[in-house]
């Protein structure tokens, strides 16, 4: 019998009341809010000029919306929290701008993003929300200045377009995490996993050692791997197939997540990964959260996510299921494009950034 698949139950069994320890840090959690530790030394896996500088107190985070519409009001909790962390936060015209489902026209969104990456006074870019739209502007963006002066780009879901494009074209790390729309209005009453997830953005941005632990899950395939972490939203990874942004996964640790799709659609996307050889030469696979749309009555697909994944993967690498990344409250910030060590064993799962 496999272990309970619920993230909360498995968690409670092992470290009840200590959820926040999931995300361990070199600094005790109680003290980190005021601390800006020196960036760790880089390993040889990434050239120093590829590395966006970690943020210091007073540095500027710009908010822009390359995809869906979000109001200024909805961005306020994120603005307040990031200012509380000691950063200066600025927003551009795309925040609150609306062209139907988008945060402004393609030209407005492209121009907003372009200015943010080109502006030397902006040290990191937090995206307002996902939705849809990044693919419509990615080819309008000129990354020349960004490639010379990289900065952290923060987001997920539709922002997977940026993660993959930047990884493939420039090899510059990015932060896969919650965006402005996921900051709770009321932190005092927010779910602890949500608070910790948002706190992990600050930890990533300031260069703390990132280490993620998960209790044992007997659906996992045990093993150890070290490699560059890449990934994001599965639909978007498929969307980039055949393009200049197409994610190459050989020798990498791949993580995937998705939301709101029928199981058969997820199966089709996983076949696309397999048949485009993205699963053959991985170092490791991290399966995040997949809140799937229930099958229509009479159309039951009949296969679990575990079955869909296991039938398609090569036999040689570790696989971790139920990792807290995805469209859920518990969605920890991950540094795409940096070297990570993944240990999946009968003691649990540890993912650690070692780049």
């Amino acid at each position: 019998m496999v272990a309970n698949n619920s993230p909360f139950n498995t968690f409670d069994i092992r470290i009840s009341m200590k959820r926040k320890d999931f995300l361990t840090s070199v600094i005790p959690l109680a003290t980190i809010s005021a601390a800006f530790p020196k960036a760790p030394e880089l390993s040889q896996s990434l050239a120093p000029n590829k590395m966006p500088p970690y943020l210091k107190k007073g540095d500027v985070i710009g908010i822009t919306c390359p995809s869906g519409y979000i109001s200024m009001e909805e961005c306020l909790p994120a603005i307040n929290k990031m200012e509380e962390w000691g950063f200066t936060v600025i927003t551009d015209n795309t925040v609150g701008a609306r062209d139907f489902t988008f945060a402004g026209t393609d030209d407005e969104r492209a121009s907003g993003f372009q200015k943010m990456i080109d502006d030397p006074a902006i040290n990191a870019i937090m995206l307002g929300r996902g939705g849809y739209g990044a693919i419509r502007i990615i080819d309008k963006i000129n990354f020349r200045n960004f490639a010379k002066h990289p900065k952290w780009i923060i987001g997920f879901s539709d922002a997977t377009v940026f993660h993959c494009h930047i990884q493939q074209k420039f090899g510059i790390p990015t932060i896969h995490s919650k965006m402005c729309n996921s900051f709770p209005l009321d932190f005092a009453n927010a779910d602890q996993t949500q608070i910790d997830s948002i706190g992990s953005i600050r930890q990533c941005l300031t260069g703390e050692n990132m280490k993620y632990e998960r209790p044992v899950n007997f659906e996992n395939r045990f093993g150890e791997a070290t490699g560059i972490l890449v990934g994001g939203n599965l639909s978007v990874i498929e969307l980039l197939d055949g393009s200049v942004s197409d994610l190459k996964t050989d020798g990498k640790i791949l993580f995937i997540e998705d939301v709101g799709e029928y199981p058969y659609k997820i199966d089709g996307m996983l076949w696309n990964l397999k048949r485009s050889k993205k699963l053959d030469h991985l170092k490791g696979l991290i399966v995040g959260q997949f809140r799937m749309k229930p099958d229509d009555p009479g159309e039951e697909f009949g296969k679990s996510l575990w079955e869909m994944v296991m039938e398609k993967i090569a036999p040689h690498y570790p696989v971790c299921f139920d990792f807290p990344v995805g469209h859920v409250k518990e969605n920890y910030a991950l540094k795409c494009g940096m070297k990570h060590k993944l240990v999946v064993s009968d003691k649990g799962t540890i993912l650690e950034c070692v780049g």
């Binding site: 489902t101 980039l240 199966d267 996307m269 485009s276 039951e300 697909f301």
Partner: protein, 302 residues
């Protein structure tokens, strides 16, 4: 060189298989009766009427059934009972070595796009994109679209004429026709079944998707280079489109128009290739002439 499977003669045998979703036997009765009335023999495969969850059988059952039909000397054409989802799960398990030596028409659309693309990109064998069993029901067997399938099977060259659409981009083109269901075409990108579209006339159709998802898929076609070197583009039916809470702000046709308006080749919209009744049989891998003029679109088989 493209291999054109032999056209059928009365007395020839059509096998019916379901490589994807479940198809109740009784829903294929009008189809089998019509095929018999056309003078063909009909052999139902084991997957017709069979059910395993959503599917018409396990992967093994669906694969074995289609394999047998591909290999059987006595089967002259293969009509897929329905699409749904599942052909992509078995495509790499199929052995086409006998089929390549004795090609036969494979007929279907939607999920069967996987077979059309796979056969053309790997073996340059033509196949038939057209109505499946359910389209024969409710008197459908009498309509011009089912009749177009009959004529296509007999080898009569098609000459389809439809009224134009205000979004059409006029022009004339000649080229090999490729295409199918948009979701499947993008799902196959990067895989061994991916089709090359350079110098081709491409057709696409879709059902039940969000407008933004269609936009996204068209962007994928564009960004993967599949739109820039076409001879012509046929936008078929996009039925049952859905919108998000924050509306997309355009119809799918307007969104597609925005993406292709700078291309010089002819583009037509609402061509009768679709998940609805309006679904002419066309042959993937065969050369056609496309004329898009004001108020008239003609697709003629060469």
């Amino acid at each position: 060189m493209v291999t054109i499977p032999p056209y059928l003669n009365p007395g020839d045998t059509i096998g019916i298989v379901c490589p994807a979703g479940f198809m109740p036997f009784e829903k294929a009765l009008a189809c089998t009766e019509t095929l018999k009335a056309w003078g063909f023999r009909v052999v139902p495969g084991k997957t017709l009427g069979n059910q395993y969850h959503y599917f018409s059988g396990t992967d093994e059952q669906r694969c074995d059934d289609l394999q047998q039909m591909l290999d059987d000397e006595n089967i002259d054409a293969i009509l897929c009972g329905r699409g749904g989802y599942g052909t992509g799960r078995i495509i790499d398990k199929l052995d086409f070595s006998k089929f390549v030596k004795r090609p036969k028409w494979v007929i279907g659309f939607s999920d069967i796009t996987v077979l059309h693309c796979h056969l053309f990109s790997n073996y340059k064998i033509a196949s038939m994109h057209g109505p499946m069993a359910a389209a024969f029901n409710d008197g459908g067997f009498q309509n011009e679209y089912i009749q177009s399938l009959h004529e296509a099977l007999l080898g009569k060259k098609a000459d389809y004429k439809t009224v134009g659409n205000v979004l059409d981009q006029p022009g004339k083109a000649k080229g090999i026709l490729v295409g199918g269901n948009l979701s499947l075409l993008v799902n196959l990108i990067g895989t061994p079944s991916d089709i090359q579209t350079k110098n081709k006339i491409l057709f696409v159709e879709e059902v039940g998707e969000y407008i933004y998802a269609v936009d996204r898929m068209m962007y994928q076609l564009k960004r993967s280079g599949k739109l820039e070197n076409l001879k012509g583009l046929i936008i078929g039916g996009f039925s049952d489109m859905k919108d998000t809470t924050l509306p997309f702000g355009q119809t799918v046709q307007e969104a597609i128009k925005d993406l292709v308006k700078d291309y010089k080749y002819p583009v037509c919209f609402d061509f009768p290739i679709s998940h609805e009744k309006q679904n002419f049989a066309v042959k993937v891998g065969i050369k056609y002439k496309l004329n898009v003029a004001k108020n008239l679109v003609e697709l003629k088989e060469l």
